[in-house]
Subunit: 404 residues, 2 copies
């Protein structure tokens, strides 16, 4: 279905499921593994007798994985690993005005990756979350994903978990998996940060456990805005829009174009697709289109325009950009990341990266040659704020007596 | 008061004030500026007729600021600005296996800084939040801080706001200020991210508005662990502990030392301070002390040991480190930041930095020379995940026909 117009900003409305999710969280907090096993029977229709899959079990789970898929995973895994390695920050310790100070980077203590799954599974998401985490140096990585009928997680998820060197995999999904990672159970380890995509129950659970654990943000259904001019190929534009719609009926797919002709042609191609909604709008200029993009702050932006170099600096609020000759779908596999902000979160957040698994620690040292005027300013500011002992503890190191 | 032992991990227990804070948030959402004016009368005992302070009003507010303080602020401001400039990341766009991809950094769209205040105010906090934000390129910066009796915010806060080039200052404090920044009112602009310290009501409000706005985290009362060996000066150790206790009775102050003699001497000095609690514990080795530090994950760590180089790599979970000859209090003014994780959040978060005001946008382009094996792997992985149109939209760009 085609809608001629611009969609309004979307809200995940997590609060619609808060009550149900709170119940699940409390149940897991109260009854631990027993609750996980019971809820897995209830929601996933799978009977498991334990939650943890150890290394031997994981090896068995990926025994039947097609060799061609293993090879594909290895290729993509290596590509992403090399990319993330290149983005690692160095420690930043400088001397300024005689003070030696800066940040030293340390990795997040422990991370739980949620991988949606069951019959349809997304091993690529595990690479998107797990690889930057491991490259950032996270020592303790855990994975949670719903079980198949045979008690395994998806074979590709099992295989990637082994490649990542995770500590353990938990065969449990939904809000109950998030509760287990946030609070721990008899067998599930409590982690410092939870990341990964998932349905509204998973996202609501992530939102609700933020009092005890960090999260990467809450992610909703995928979003794509295509900005196109008369140079665009209508078939390619339509294909990109359909590929994003492939994620499900909730996907938001928008075309903003300066060309009436293109709008008509794309509309003709997409008109046959009764399963999805596509928004198409003509705009006066590419500048107007970019302005709309920055307001909407979509997850994906695809630029089908002849001179993208002129406009890319004006793009501020999006999760990912693909340029004309690249498919937005490419970002889903070789990213650099497909874990991206949706629902206007691109105004304040970006793609998942090694920076989500690193923390800068403030450090100050060896400042014996500190600029005296700076030192006096610090002391005077501390006193202005009423921190007399602060000022004394600083001054005494430089021979200032109390009262100086 | 001295307690011989190790404190247990602390929890902010924001939920204790959730009900009260939710009431305030809903009141502000419903009645806007009227609610802000009414709540300011109620909580701050100040009558204001409007919420916004414009540039002219700010100039009047800092007219009486002591010239020596202005000079001190300028000095510290310039120091912090130069530091943060050095830490800015560059865009990271690389060619790997023939694919050109990476991150381009964009700043957060708009930021609201909360500055605690009233009679006792902390202009240093505004520098700690506002300077990295502006250096990161945030265009729209807003400040909220409670008013004085004359309707101004603290004069130093007004002065720094002008130096930062903020858009507006809102003379409103507490949970009501956070609600206003998160949802907007007739005169208060809705922002994309809220940062800054504040009391438990402010932090609970920040926690509760995370469904519509990003936050820097929730910060609690300050924490310091001093790790010291026999080489430490007991007077300096005690002074550092007292300076941290100066923040209030809720400050957590701990000494871990390998020296019984030092423990006794520090205990003697601090024994006279009846207003604060100090924890003192002897440990077998510095390694044991560092292990305890990583478990406790305190805001500040001060190393009063002879060979810190040997141990610094083992320190993982802290917000800030000061080495022997530097006071932890120095971090409060020339940081690089004193907005730091407390309550064990140092396991997953670091110091506030330019990275809190920047977002990496994923970008893919010009990959015509993509390694064919990688391309085939991506296509095979997309198909394995059931994304047929994804694979087609990628392959068609490289001459693959549907079914290839």
């Amino acid at each position: 279905m085609i809608i001629y117009g611009i969609p309004t900003q979307r809200n995940l409305r997590l609060e619609n499921v808060f009550e149900k999710v709170k119940e699940i969280i409390n149940y897991v907090r109260g009854r631990g593994d027993e609750a996980l096993i019971e809820l897995t029977k209830k929601f996933d229709k799978v009977s498991i007798d334990s939650v943890v899959l150890d290394i031997d079990q994981l090896k068995r789970c990926c025994r039947d994985l097609d060799q061609a898929i293993t090879k594909s995973i290895n290729k993509v895994f290596s590509f992403l690993w090399r990319f993330h390695e290149k983005t690692l920050p160095r420690n930043m310790v400088f001397e300024i005005d005689g003070v030696i100070l800066g940040y030293i980077w340390r990795s997040v203590e422990s991370v739980g990756v949620y991988v949606p799954g069951g019959r349809k599974s997304y091993p690529s998401s595990l690479m998107m979350c797990g690889i930057p985490a491991k490259v950032a140096g996270v020592e303790k990585l855990y994975v949670a994903s719903p079980p198949l009928l045979n008690g395994c997680v998806n074979p590709a998820v099992a295989y990637i978990s082994l490649e990542l060197g995770v500590e353990e995999v938990y065969r449990v999904g939904g809000a109950q998996a998030i509760a287990a990672l946030a609070y721990g159970t008899e067998t599930v380890k409590k982690v410092a940060k939870i990341v990964g995509p998932g349905n509204i129950y998973v996202q609501a659970a992530k939102f609700l456990v933020q009092d005890v654990v960090s999260i990467d943000g809450v992610e909703g259904p995928t979003e794509l805005v295509v900005v196109a001019d008369e140079s665009a190929d209508p078939h390619l534009v339509a294909l990109d829009m359909m590929s994003q719609a492939e994620h499900g009926v909730e996907a938001l797919v928008v075309l903003l174009t300066t060309s009436n002709d293109l709008a008509n042609k794309v509309s003709q191609i997409l008109g046959n697709d009764k399963d999805h909604v596509y928004y198409i709008t003509t705009v006066k200029s590419i500048d107007e289109a970019i302005e709309l993009v920055n307001k909407l702050a979509p997850e994906h932006l695809s630029l089908h325009i002849s001179s993208y170099e002129k406009y890319i600096d004006k793009v501020v609020n999006v999760g990912a950009i693909s340029i004309k000759n690249e498919a937005p779908a490419l970002i889903d596999y070789i990213g650099p990341n497909h874990v991206l902000p949706t629902n206007s979160w691109a105004k304040s957040r970006g793609a998942l990266s090694v920076y989500d698994f690193l923390k800068p620690i403030s450090i100050v040292m060896n400042s014996s040659s500190i600029d005296r005027e700076l030192l006096d300013s610090v002391i005077s500011l501390a006193r202005y704020e009423g921190f007399e002992i602060h000022s004394r503890s600083i001054g005494v190191r430089y021979g200032y007596r109390h009262g100086d």
